[in-house]
């Protein structure tokens, strides 16, 4: 092994009866990495996390943590700590009891328990809450205690299953930043499940996009956003989502009716991509508007349908020919429904996909 892997997953299969939830899944997670598993609901993220935790038995495949094969190990012997969406605090125990439960089970000496609980409470700033019951805490405080429960056990890998989904938007943003800070401070490996792309983009060192029990793309947030490997990933990431236009690629020029787009500056996957039916994807926020249209490599126009002013920016929903087309403009932009809006497109920031297998060209 050239690089130290914290968690390695080899050919993992998991069936619930006839339903194949995970299929031949492979994943290597680096030491100290913050990896986010991102996907729509029901794609198998929690299932994968539960397999890593040892709470579900895989049908086939192997799991290694720190180079040790833990496929058959008990959850408590894997060096993992887990934080759940519903907090899952033991309701009849105080915060202190919740934090020390795992240590007591591991027969850690009393003085050491005391020390570790206090340290975790300090890191998470929950010292004043130690003698309260979970019922007397707010959602944010509860989730901090739940994180503390993993923290005290000095685990190698933190597993998070949508830990912020039950919190309101403001608290979610605060705790997100705290989690990031915690990761910078602890430098543990963290595997974080979410369906929220903002959480994924902001927290992750790398993101694994999942669909139907398989990993579609495993890359840095930047790579996922700018160079999605296929149309699914391109569509999934970004809000509002990417505009797709079907057409033909001829000699590295994308054509669709009047729209002729020489793909200058676009990084093709191969030096020479053969002519074929293709789909071009353009992010709403990469569409050029206003005075800059003059200098744009490719010019076109859309018919404005609905305008949504959002304060910081303006979303414009329109049509290019018979295709819906969205774009994001400056907050001060003055656009009216029914207007013909000239736009510019920069092919170097677009994504080009094969029309049949939907992979990036």
């Amino acid at each position: 092994m050239a690089e130290q892997h914290s968690v390695e997953i080899r050919h993992l299969d998991l069936d619930f009866g006839a339903v194949k939830v995970l299929q031949d899944l492979n994943l290597d997670i680096h030491e100290g990495e913050f990896l986010v598993l991102l996907g729509s609901s029901g794609c198998g993220k929690s299932t994968l996390l539960n397999c890593i935790a040892g709470l579900l038995e895989p049908t086939d495949g192997q799991i290694f943590i720190k180079g040790r094969n833990v496929t058959w190990a008990e959850p408590s012997d894997r060096g993992i700590g887990m934080v759940f969406q519903s907090y899952a605090l033991y309701p009849q125990m105080t915060v202190r009891g919740n934090l020390s439960f795992g240590l007591k089970n591991a027969k850690v000496p009393k003085a050491e328990i005391e020390k570790r609980v206090n340290r975790a409470a300090e890191i998470l700033q929950i010292q004043p809450l130690l003698d309260r019951k979970p019922g007397a805490l707010s959602g944010g405080q509860r989730q901090r205690v739940a994180i503390g429960r993993a923290l005290v056990r000095d685990v190698d890998v933190f597993l998070f299953d949508e830990p912020l989904s039950n919190l309101d938007a403001k608290l979610r943003a605060d705790l997100r930043v705290e989690l990031k800070r915690l990761h910078q401070q602890l430098e543990n490996t963290m595997i974080y499940v979410t369906h929220d792309q903002v959480e994924a983009m902001t927290l992750a060192d790398r993101i694994a996009i999942m669909k139907g029990g398989q990993i579609m793309q495993l890359s840095t947030p930047d790579e996922i956003y700018n160079r999605p490997r296929n149309k699914y990933v391109a569509d999934f990431i970004g809000s509002p989502s990417m505009n797709f236009l079907d057409g033909h690629l001829e000699n590295h020029v994308f054509k669709r009716g009047d729209l002729v787009m020489p793909m200058t500056g676009y990084e093709f996957a191969a030096p020479k991509v053969a002519d074929r039916k293709a789909t071009i994807g353009i992010r709403p926020e990469h569409v050029i508007t206003g005075e800059l249209v003059q200098g744009a490599p490719v010019k076109s126009e859309i018919l404005v349908d609905v305008v949504e002013p959002m304060g910081s920016d303006t979303l414009v929903w329109g049509n290019m020919g018979d295709r819906p087309f969205r774009l994001r403009m400056d907050g001060n932009a003055r656009v009216k429904p029914g207007e013909r809006l000239p736009i510019g497109i920069d092919p170097s920031r677009a994504s080009l996909f094969d029309a049949s297998d939907e992979t990036r060209l």
Binding site: P75, P91, R153
Partner: protein
């Protein structure tokens, strides 16, 4: 802050629409205490409670009267001279057949049946309910279905086969099961199993799986999770199970008659024997006192745990 408040008040006072609104109805709508609905509701409740309470009243007053007064008077009249003699006689002297020890022997028999049966049945049902909801194994749902089907088989069908089973198993092990209290305890425990297991399974199923998973990550095992996580959250359902079992087993007559002998009859069977004794005159006051004595245990349980009972039923019954 206060300036803005004042400004609003001033504005409101000047606003004609506001003034019009002020004159109309405002706040909660007043309700009449003596509406027709209320009269019907409370009237019905009153009649129903009288219907249930009157027999109890008759029993209590009769048990406190002497025989001459009973023969002379009206059943509803309160006792002219209160006597506890019938209660003493029912407890310690009333005769069934040849022995005249009163109900006391039956009471202690019932206690000796009740305590082990309740503990055994609740313990087993609690563990199986926990297993069937949180540690599912291959075929656990089938197992549960079979158990529930067991609840629908009429007791009468099983009476005699169980007699044979108790006798044969007893012979094999060299202990007396048929006709002994031990045998009856086993029978009560087995018959309590379907409903109690259902009760516990549903209650534990309503405890979130994530809590259970968190405990496993924290290194707690099968028993650790049961004793330190699940049971401390289970007081309401334990109370419900206890009430069901205490009253059910205490009030049992059929199994008591079938599976025990005369010297180990439970209280209910002995009560029947006292009340239906054919020798001598009918002592209504003693019979009433005996009946009340027999009913005291379930009555006591209901009074002590009524509130918890309702809470537990609500908690255990919601999730299927």
């Amino acid at each position: 802050m206060s300036d803005i408040g004042m400004l609003n008040t001033v504005k409101a006072a000047e606003d004609p629409v506001r003034r019009r609104l002020d004159s109309g109805p405002r706040g909660a709508r007043p309700k009449r205490a003596l509406s027709r609905g209320n009269i019907i509701l409370y009237g019905t409740l009153l009649v129903v409670s009288l219907y249930y309470l009157l027999p109890l009243y008759v029993m209590i007053v009769t048990s406190l009267k002497g025989m001459p007064e009973i023969r002379a008077g009206n059943v509803f009249a309160p006792p002219m001279e209160i006597t506890f003699q019938p209660w003493v006689k029912a407890w310690a002297e009333a005769c069934t057949g040849v022995n005249c020890e009163g109900l006391s022997r039956g009471f202690w028999n019932s206690v000796r049946i009740l305590i082990p049966s309740v503990i055994l049945s609740i313990t087993i049902a609690c563990i199986s309910g926990y297993t069937l909801s949180k540690w599912k194994f291959k075929g656990s749902d089938l197992f549960f279905t079979i158990l529930i089907v067991g609840a629908f088989i009429p007791y009468q069908v099983m009476l005699y086969p169980i007699v044979i089973m108790l006798r044969e198993v007893g012979n094999t092990l060299g202990v007396q099961l048929f006709g002994s209290l031990t045998g009856l305890v086993l029978v009560h425990s087995v018959f309590g199993m379907p409903i109690l297991t259902l009760l516990f399974r549903n209650y534990f199923a309503s405890i979130p799986d994530e809590l259970f998973k968190a405990a496993r990550v924290d290194g707690a095992g099968f028993w650790g999770i049961l004793f330190r996580i699940m049971l401390p959250m289970s007081l309401p359902i334990l109370v419900v199970a206890m009430i069901l079992q205490v009253t059910g087993i205490w009030n049992d007559f059929l199994f008591g008659v079938v599976y025990t002998r005369a010297d180990s009859y439970p209280m209910t069977v002995q009560l029947n024997n006292i009340v239906n004794s054919v020798q001598g005159i009918k002592e209504y006051n003693v019979n009433m006192a005996a009946t009340l004595l027999t009913g005291l245990v379930p009555l006591f349980i209901y009074f002590v745990s009524g509130k918890l009972f309702v809470r537990g039923i609500a908690a255990g019954a919601v999730k299927g």
